[in-house]
Symmetry: C2
Subunit: 256 residues, 2 copies
C-alpha cells in the first residue's frame, strides 16, 4: 500500500531540485519539478518559513541554513559514520593518501566521509557528493553487493565513460562484479579519475548486508607492488574490524 503524502513528496523533490539548480526562481523550479506554479510557490513559501530555503533579493531561491544544520545532525546521528571515523583516520595517519567511506544511495554512490591527501590531488569524490556505481573502487564494491535489481538496472542502463579505462561493457563488468564478491576486495585502475587507483573493500553490518565501502584512492605509482599489498591488507583489516564493531558476526549476505 502506498501511504505517500503527495504534497510532502513534492516538497522533498523541490529541495532536491534546488540542490541541483541553486538560484532559480518559481517558474524555473516549476518546470524542473513538473509542479504547477501555484504548488511551487506555496511549497517554497512553506520551506522558506522554516528556513529550509532562502529567498535572495532577486527572488531566486537557495537551500537555507536550516537544511544545512539538519544535514549536520544527520551526520552526527549516523552510527555508521560514528563507528567508521576513527578507522578512517587510522588508515589516513598511516599512509597519508585519500581515504573514503562510501555508501550506495539508490542508483548512485555517496561519499559520506573523506580524509583527503594534503597534496589536494583532484579526485572525483568529494565530501557529500554523489557519483556513479559502475566506476571507481568503492562504487564497484557497492554495486557488486547491491540487490540484484540495482545491479541489473545499472548493467542494462547507460554506463557513462569517465576515462579511457572506464568499463562500459556490461558483460565485462558483470564478470568483474562476480570477482569482487569472491575476492572480498577490489583494485580499480583509473576508471573514474585518470592516473588514480583505488583499493576498496566492503563493510557489513549486523545483518550481514554490505552497508558501505572503504576505499583508498591514490596516484597509480603509489598503489603498486609492495605498497599495494600493504594497503590492501590495511583496508581488509579495517573493514573487518569496522564490520565487527557494527555487529557483523561473519555471516555475509550475497546478492546475485
Amino acid at each position: 500500500m502506498d501511504y505517500t503524502i503527495s504534497s510532502v513528496d513534492r516538497a522533498l523533490r523541490m529541495l532536491q531540485a534546488l540542490s541541483e539548480l541553486p538560484g532559480s526562481g518559481v517558474t524555473e523550479l516549476a518546470e524542473r519539478t513538473g509542479c504547477t506554479k501555484s504548488q511551487t510557490f506555496r511549497i517554497l513559501y512553506t520551506l522558506e518559513a522554516q528556513g529550509y530555503v532562502t529567498k535572495d533579493a532577486d527572488r531566486s531561491y537557495r537551500l537555507g541554513f536550516q537544511t544545512m544544520l539538519l544535514g549536520d545532525q544527520a551526520r552526527r546521528q549516523s552510527p555508521l559514520i560514528a563507528a567508521a571515523e576513527p578507522h578512517i583516520n587510522d588508515i589516513y595517519e598511516r599512509i597519508r593518501q585519500n581515504v573514503l567511506l562510501i555508501v550506495r544511495h539508490g542508483m548512485r554512490t555517496a561519499c559520506v566521509l573523506l580524509r583527503a591527501s594534503p597534496d589536494r590531488d583532484q579526485i572525483y569524490a568529494e565530501f557529500g557528493r554523489t557519483g556513479p556505481l559502475h566506476a571507481g573502487g568503492g562504487p564497484k564494491v557497492m554495486l557488486a553487493n547491491a540487490p540484484c535489481e540495482i545491479q541489473e538496472a545499472v548493467l542494462t542502463g547507460e554506463l557513462t565513460r569517465y576515462t579511457r579505462k572506464t568499463i562500459c561493457d556490461p558483460d565485462t563488468l558483470r564478470a568483474l562484479l562476480e570477482k569482487i564478491r569472491t575476492d572480498g576486495w577490489h583494485l580499480s585502475e583509473a576508471d573514474l579519475d585518470d592516473d588514480k587507483r583505488s583499493v576498496a573493500a566492503p563493510v557489513r553490518d549486523a545483518s550481514g548486508e554490505v552497508v558501505a565501502a572503504i576505499s583508498v584512492t591514490a596516484p597509480e605509482d603509489y598503489l603498486q607492488g609492495a605498497r599495494l599489498d600493504e594497503t590492501r591488507d590495511l583496508v581488509l583489516q579495517t573493514v573487518e574490524r569496522l564490520s565487527v564493531a557494527l555487529g557483523y558476526r561473519g555471516t555475509p549476505v550475497v546478492h546475485a
Copy 2:
C-alpha cells in the same frame, strides 16, 4: 497572507523533531510533534521513500543519508560560507585558536564554519550546532544587531545561565548590547564556556545588515594584554574584508 501547506509544514517539523530525538518511533514522534499517529506514520513513510529518514530494524527512525547529502549541498551553495572560508582559515593559520563563523537562526545561533584549535579544548560551539543568543562572543554580537523584536524576545525571555559569569540580568545585557553596537566588536569572558574568552565582530552584506559574526574563542590566559589587542585587530580587519567581499559599501543598518 499565509500560503503554508500544512502537511509540508508538519513534515518539516517531523524532521526537526527527529534531529532532536533520533531513534524514536511513530508514537513518540507523534506525541512530540503533536501530529496524530496516522499523520506521523504517513509523513515518515513519505520521508523514508526518498531516503530523508531511515527506519532501523527495531522500527526506530533516524535522519537518513539524503538529509545529510542535501545539507552538504546547502553548505556548498552558501555564498557567505564560501566567501568566509579563506578568511577563517587565514585567522586560524596565524593564531591557531578556535575560529568560528556564526549566524543567527531564529532565536538561536548556529556555528556554520569552525576551525578548531588542535588541543581540542572543549568549547560549547560545535560544527552545525545551535546555541543561545545571550551568551558567548559571537552570539551577543548577533543579538546586538538582530531586529528589535528578536532582541526584545530574548531580553524578556529566560536568560539561561551557563556559567557563573553568564549575564542573566536584562538591563545589564541591554546596556552591553548598546556598547557592542557602538564599539563594533566584543570581548566575552567565560559566559558560555568556563575559562574561555571570545573576541567577536559582525560581518555585513551588501544591504548593510549583519549576516554573521566571526569569533575567536581561546583560553582566558591567551586572550589577554597585547595578544588580545592583536586578535581584536585581526578579527576587525577580517570582518571588514569579508563584508566588502560580500558587497558591503559602508552603510550599516542599525537596529534598536
